[in-house]
């Protein structure tokens, strides 16, 4: 066991997979010599060489598009988008090829690729560095979408993502990169994709969240506890495939549901979660399934971001309303 933050845990996962499998390549902008702008890939080029860990020209479509070619030729590329706000030039490749290749060739070619990207806000960043657009990827058939909330999860989920024969969008909450440290086991372990984790059992309400907001929900739970409200907290971990069963079982018990997510509300992940609750736990409901999501706005810059990002107080406020409904 080592004490690690999320940057170190992601680095450890990459290190283990590079060591284990010569088919694994890591590349993107500034990931080699520099070790990534967040130092996530630090030391990997020195250890595995410039043909396995390398810097590319500054072109996201080129990065993802060439990775498609490598994947069909038998390699397992793990590419980095420097920030999720810069992934959009690669969308044509992601939608038209990464996600579709397996289906359109009826399984002749699969795309065992991981596209890593730091995402999410509340770090007082400049424009285009605060968005939480995971719903865009969830809407693309053929992709898996994974978001860790702890260093331990980041390592286990990333190893599983690299071992997956399906393409995985791996979104790293940059707000948590150095915010949490915890014990992470040495060596290789995996956390299954498509499975949520019940982080706390409770009686009165089910809260589903993921990424950086899990920690904020945990703070809100302390506030709730003081008023006698017992919260069941589920960390989704995989946004797609979505673990319907864990969510449904919990809401059948608690009768109340709140999702806490960061991205814009309309057609967001919260809407999908509420639909699942409606479809599978309708008769257990004691209050309307509710979503706390980002506003349908561009995330405000530093001066306004405390209005946009959910504080523990805001989350508690929504929990209380539902329990008192």
């Amino acid at each position: 066991m080592k004490i690690m933050n999320m940057v170190q845990a992601v680095n450890d996962a990459l290190d283990i997979m590079l060591a284990q499998d010569g088919k694994v390549l890591v590349f993107g902008e500034d990931v080699g010599v520099e070790g990534g702008v967040f130092r996530v890939t630090e030391g990997l080029q020195q250890k595995y060489g410039e043909d396995r860990v390398f810097d590319t020209p500054l072109a996201e479509s080129g990065i993802v598009g060439t990775a498609v070619g490598m994947a069909v030729a038998g390699l397992r590329p793990v590419v980095e988008m420097q920030f999720s706000g810069f992934v959009y030039p690669a969308f044509n490749q992601i939608i038209s090829h990464v996600a579709r290749m397996r289906n359109r060739t009826r399984g002749r070619y699969s795309i065992p690729m991981v596209i890593r990207m730091p995402y999410g806000g509340f770090i007082r960043a400049i424009e285009h560095h605060s968005e939480s657009m995971e719903a865009l990827f969830v809407h693309i058939p053929g992709l898996k979408v994974v978001i860790p909330s702890t260093p331990y999860d980041a390592k286990g989920l990333l190893v599983a993502a690299i071992e997956s024969d399906d393409p995985v969008i791996f979104m790293e909450p940059k707000r948590l990169y150095r915010a949490i440290k915890q014990e992470v086991p040495d060596g290789k372990f995996t956390i299954p994709l498509g499975k949520a984790k019940v982080l706390a059992t409770g009686e009165h309400i089910t809260v589903v969240s993921y990424g950086a907001l899990v920690r904020e929900v945990q703070k809100a739970m302390s506030l709730a506890k003081k008023t006698g409200i017992s919260v069941e907290l589920i960390d989704l971990r995989s946004i797609y495939p979505i673990d319907r069963e864990t969510i449904t079982r919990s809401v059948q018990k608690t009768g109340r549901f709140l999702s806490v997510t960061e991205g814009p509300r309309t057609a967001g992940v919260g809407a999908e979660l509420m639909s699942i609750v409606n479809e599978d736990a309708f008769l257990s409901l004691e209050a309307p399934p509710t979503r706390l999501a980002g506003f349908d706005t561009v995330p405000p810059l530093a001066q306004g971001e405390h209005h946009y990002h959910h504080s523990p107080e805001r989350i508690f406020y929504e929990i209380k309303k539902l329990v008192e409904y």
Partner: protein, 372 residues
């Protein structure tokens, strides 16, 4: 390998380099040799086979258009007039080399081992047409323009990384050179010195938009200069010039010297697709001018002069091809479609949620059947 009579192949890329302003042409419009020192060394059998392959591709293409017109197949992009380019690539491409196509290189597909049944399946609305099981190391068509080019660069990187000597052939049209992915792919391949032969089929139109309005550059080949790689402009309707250029490019790539850009100047004698009407954007006089430069006519002219071809062979051969092709079309028409295939191929294991959608739809189908 250069002989005393013919100049070395890679020197060709220098002599006809993109900045030379020259277009490589070995046969004139009647099929007479005008550049003997660049004549590729081909046996009589290879010449005849090439002509037959062009004839097969043309026959198949015209039948595809006809099936579409009969309402037996859906939208199809005709290849008429562009057959020499794919046949030339096919004559150089080895079994383990990769083919990364766009969608208008029928003769290259056939050379790689795709069958007309595959093609008919695809344009007949079956995903099974993109499996291409008989074509080793080939990707399916790429409809989003130029998006296939980065794949070729990535495969090229993989060949180098894996220590393989196989190379990649990829296609794009003149319109595709305006896309960002064209730039990114050539740039990446150049930086990596990836073994990729990029072939632009400059057929003069991107649907209705003429080449002159696609770029202010003097040629499309000249774009290679911006990536530090060789570029060459070739008469794409001149089979022998195409073979010479593709051989030189393949030799360059296989020797580890990196990518090459070939601009094959040709003309799309048919419509963009069967939904398009070229009469809206070009003249009959222009079409007639290019009909006179037709690649089959020119190679046949050469073969006849060399006494390698007997005109009376042609009709029986076409009849035989038609019979074979029609047989494959019938197989496509009898190809089954299982709705479950819509669901089960997206992931290595179908996600529970998607499985529920499939099961729910099946229940509906069963209910519907019970109502009849």
């Amino acid at each position: 390998m250069s002989s005393s009579k013919t100049k070395s192949k890679t020197a060709l890329l220098e002599e006809y380099g993109a900045l030379s302003g020259k277009m490589l042409q070995i046969l004139d419009y009647e099929g007479r040799v005008i550049l003997a020192e660049r004549l590729p060394k081909l046996s009589p059998e290879e010449m005849v086979t090439a002509y037959q392959n062009m004839l097969y591709a043309r026959t198949a293409d015209q039948m595809a258009v006809s099936y579409q017109r009969q309402g037996r197949m859906y939208t199809y992009p005709p290849n008429l007039g562009q057959e020499a380019i794919g046949v030339a690539v096919g004559s150089v491409m080895r079994e383990d080399d990769w083919l990364v196509p766009a969608y208008r290189e029928l003769s290259a597909w056939l050379a790689k081992g795709a069958s007309m049944k595959d093609i008919f399946l695809y344009f007949g609305g079956h995903e099974d047409g993109s499996v291409l099981a008989g074509a080793k190391n080939m990707l399916p068509s790429a409809v989003p323009i130029a998006s296939q080019l980065p794949h070729a660069a990535g495969i090229g990187y993989a060949m180098k990384y894996q220590g393989k000597k196989d190379i990649v052939f990829t296609f794009v049209g003149d319109g595709g050179t305006s896309q960002g992915d064209f730039h990114e792919a050539l740039n990446f391949a150049g930086v990596w010195r990836a073994p990729v032969v990029f072939i632009i089929q400059n057929n003069q139109y991107a649907i209705s938009h003429p080449r002159a309005h696609q770029t202010a550059a003097k040629s499309l080949a000249v774009k290679a200069e911006g990536y530090g790689i060789p570029g060459i402009q070739v008469d794409g309707n001149d089979y022998l010039a195409m073979v010479a250029a593709v051989k030189a490019a393949a030799e360059h790539a296989r020797a580890g010297q990196g990518p090459v850009l070939i601009e094959a100047v040709t003309y799309r004698r048919g419509a963009h697709t069967t939904s398009d009407d070229p009469g809206r954007y070009r003249t009959e006089a222009e079409e007639q001018k290019w009909a006179e430069r037709d690649p089959l006519k020119r190679l046949k002219g050469y073969l006849l002069a060399q006494q390698l071809w007997d005109e009376t062979n042609e009709e029986p051969l076409i009849s035989q091809y038609k019979k074979e092709i029609d047989q494959q079309f019938t197989e496509m028409e009898n190809h089954p479609y299982d709705f479950k295939d819509i669901f089960i191929h997206h992931y290595t294991e179908i996600p529970d949620d998607l499985k529920q959608q499939m099961v729910a739809y099946e229940k509906f189908l069963n209910w519907k059947e019970s109502q009849q």
